[in-house]
């Protein structure tokens, strides 16, 4: 345990669940405009849309897609965990919930990955 001035030790499951939720949300919000703009090409420039869609077959892009699906799943299950924690009167099972949220998200993204390759 190295002391850094002004930094609280944050190595506990709920803090990690919080930062995962925040960063996945941020990444999704940044990706979304690109996603929507590309889709709108169906109206303005169909050839370019096909060009983008062909890109999805490339290895690196596939990996990025896997990342996006993972982010979406992790953000959704993390959010459901949060709402369950806030609104349902269970209080001690939060850590278990945080862990299972991550696990389920991982399974979903894995399923996507296996189908994609």
């Amino acid at each position: 345990m190295k002391a850094a001035s002004g930094i609280t030790s944050r190595a506990h499951p709920l803090w990690l669940a919080y930062i995962l939720h925040r960063l996945s949300g941020l990444a999704l919000a940044l990706f979304l405009p690109l996603h929507l703009w590309v889709l709108a090409l169906a109206m303005t420039d169909p050839e370019r849309l096909d060009g983008f869609l062909n890109l999805t077959e490339a290895g690196a892009v596939k990996l990025a897609e896997f990342g996006l699906v993972f982010l979406l799943a992790v953000h959704m299950f993390g959010g459901l965990r949060l709402m369950a924690m806030e609104w349902l009167p269970w209080s001690t099972s939060q850590k278990t919930l945080a862990a299972s949220a991550a696990a389920i998200s991982f399974l979903i993204s894995l399923l996507f990955f296996l189908k994609a390759i």
Partner: protein, 115 residues
């Protein structure tokens, strides 16, 4: 920074989107099999009120949810506050909604390709 109303909007849009996200994930897993093409996407979505409703709701909810989420982040990590913070939230929400509505329209009822 977040009052009760923004909090409730954030939670309500989240609950609304949970089934939509599951649906979206399912569509993705189904659609990418055998590769993606514009014609394939459009053959599924074009002229469909159901897809318009599905992704239209999604676009509205995500614009609200994303704007409030980014509001919290730019306040806590970026120090933006007061009127600037409100303006930021509205600009993000309005932009996301415009982009979303445009995209949903493009794949459902716009006169473009193959209609």
């Amino acid at each position: 920074m977040l009052n009760l109303r923004l909090y409730m909007l954030q939670r309500i849009t989240a609950i609304l989107m949970a089934p939509l996200v599951l649906g979206h994930l399912a569509v993705m897993i189904y659609a990418i099999q055998g590769g993606l093409s514009a014609a394939e996407v459009l053959s599924r979505t074009q002229g469909s009120f159901l897809w318009l409703l599905f992704y239209g709701t999604f676009a509205v909810a995500v614009a609200i949810h994303g704007a409030i989420g980014l509001r919290a982040i730019v306040h806590e990590w970026g120090g933006l506050k007061g009127v600037a913070l409100d303006v930021f939230m509205w600009v993000v929400g309005f932009s996301l909604f415009t982009l979303g509505a445009r995209a949903v329209w493009a794949v459902t009822f716009a006169k473009g390709l193959g209609a």
